[in-house]
């Protein structure tokens, strides 16, 4: 079995490199396979972990990476694990690790000059996030990763104990907290709540998402690109996203070093996911 492990920045990359070093040091017959890989076993029981450090961020870049790794069904990786940090809305979840179960997108909007002060004013078009009146478009669908909460062939949350999270993916570093109450619908569902069509602030989008998702809410910049492309390629069950909540949205006081340390400490979560898949495949217990 082959696992591709993708990271987005140098701190995440260092955490995976550290994991590989720990495994080779601890694990008996584990060996290096080129500069970015390790392996154990042989033949039908060969397990290969290969690291793909992207050193770049964003939904488009992450999706492109996925496309490259899965561009042909003959590709090497059976599973691809994305490992990275995330901002967390509820600061009590700081320094916790999560499996991304669902992801929605909050990015399409408007940049306009503010009416009073200098600078720019950024808003989101709510029609892409929820049903609106008047209706212009279908809102962008959220993506679910089936193996995380057991709607696929595996229940990674139950097996690993790592909880599920909802990601609100965006294309900017968000440093605002959710508005005190979510936007009020014009009409309530079923089939779905309908809102007045208009512009939302990021604070509104956060509050809206927090209100409907019922999972810990993370904010980062890659999972929607990964999820949508995985869906298009029909490989949602082969893409797994692990996020370490390293930053609170409002208080970005954490240093790069603290973030780096946290990513190294939680790299065991990557191994936990590998163990889950390998145990199922080969009937191992651990």
């Amino acid at each position: 079995m082959h696992f591709a492990i993708v990271t987005f920045n140098e701190r995440e990359a260092a955490a995976i490199e550290a994991l590989f070093n720990q495994v080779v040091a601890r694990g008996g017959p584990w060996y290096r396979r080129g500069p970015d890989g390790i392996y154990a076993g042989s033949g039908a029981r060969l397990l290969v972990l290969r690291h793909h450090p992207l050193n770049s961020q964003g939904n488009v870049v992450a999706a492109t990476c996925l496309a490259r790794l899965f561009k042909d069904e003959d590709e090497e990786a059976d599973f691809i694990i994305f490992y990275g940090c995330a901002g967390v809305v509820d600061s009590s979840y700081l320094d916790n690790v999560f499996l991304v179960s669902q992801v929605s997108y909050a990015s399409l909007g408007t940049v306009s000059p503010p009416s009073t002060s200098p600078g720019e004013h950024i808003t989101l078009k709510n029609k892409w996030m929820c049903y609106t009146k008047p209706k212009e478009v279908e809102p962008l669908m959220s993506v679910t990763f089936p193996d995380v909460e057991g709607s696929g062939t595996l229940d990674l949350v139950a097996i690993t104990g790592i909880p599920a999270a909802h990601v609100m993916a965006t294309d900017k570093v968000v440093k605002v907290s959710p508005s005190s109450s979510p936007p009020k619908p014009l009409a309530y569902g079923p089939p779905h709540d309908t809102y007045k069509k208009g512009d939302w602030l990021y604070a509104d989008a956060l509050s809206y998402t927090q209100n409907y998702c019922h999972l810990p809410l993370l904010v980062e910049m890659e999972s929607y690109g990964i999820g949508m492309l995985a869906k298009a390629l029909k490989i949602e069950e082969r893409a797994i996203i692990i996020r370490v909540a390293t930053d609170s949205l409002v208080d970005h006081s954490g240093s790069d070093q603290r973030q780096a340390d946290s990513l190294v400490r939680f790299n065991l979560a990557v191994l936990a996911v590998v163990i889950a898949y390998v145990n199922r495949a080969w009937g191992l217990t651990s």
Binding site: A40, G41, R45, E73, D74, V278, S286
Partner: protein, 228 residues
């Protein structure tokens, strides 16, 4: 999950034992080998049972079209090319075999496996682990003469599932000169696809069955037996 919870669940001892387990021979896990026949059956049953839905999923393109008949409403999906559909499906099967670890465990005795013995042997052949496919040419070509009802209770459907059975037909059609894919077979594939709102012609289905046969030969020639 915070760090102490993660470390408690994945203790140093547990991780080290697991890492070392990977290099140990299969026979050093007696508790698991007891369960091997059941695991084989589960995997084979899944591979057999998921064939229709998987083929429809992989064969569907994003292109949509209105139903051509005025009696039906709604949108239908158009298929990708027959060659691509066959390629995607067999790549899926090979991958499922690999990640299911079917050939990573000790083999159960063929006795008692019943119909699964044919399926297991077919996968073995596909993976380059045995020189010839199971049963004989007539077994697979018989599919050509069966109506839908006959096929539903046929041996090849029961043993290896609907799509692999059709692809084996495609393989044997190419082996035996003078044979072609019958209308019975192509119509059945059209029916399978239309059950998933995928609109395909008889000609598309016939091409897909032939492409499946060609792809079987290509996969068989290219798969490294060890990698299974």
């Amino acid at each position: 999950m915070n760090l102490s919870q993660l470390r408690e669940r994945y203790s140093e001892d547990r991780v080290v034992n697991w890492l070392r387990t990977l290099a140990e021979p299969v026979e050093s896990h007696p508790p698991e080998t007891r369960d091997v026949p059941n695991r084989f059956r589960e995997t084979l049953s899944r591979l057999r049972g998921e064939q229709e839905i998987t083929f429809v999923r992989l064969a569907a393109s994003a292109q949509l079209q209105e139903w051509p008949s005025s009696e039906q409403s709604g949108l239908v999906y158009m298929p990708v090319s027959p060659v691509r559909a066959a390629h995607l499906f067999l790549a899926y099967v090979i991958r499922q075999v690999r990640i299911s670890g079917l050939f990573a465990r000790q083999w159960p005795s063929p006795q008692g496996l019943g119909d699964d013995a044919v399926f297991l042997s077919l996968l073995e052949w596909l993976g380059g682990l045995r020189p010839s496919y199971p049963a004989d040419q007539d077994y697979w070509l018989a599919r050509n003469r069966m109506s839908l009802f006959q096929f539903r209770v046929s041996a090849s459907q029961r043993t290896v599932g609907p799509i692999l059975s059709l692809f084996m037909l495609g393989y044997c059609v190419q082996e035996k000169s003078g044979t072609v894919v019958s209308r019975f077979a192509s119509r059945d594939l059209v029916r399978i696809l239309s059950s998933g709102s995928l609109l395909a012609t008889d000609e598309w289905a016939r091409s897909a069955i032939v492409a499946g046969g060609i792809e079987l030969a290509r996969v068989r020639a290219s798969v490294v037996p060890e990698a299974l």
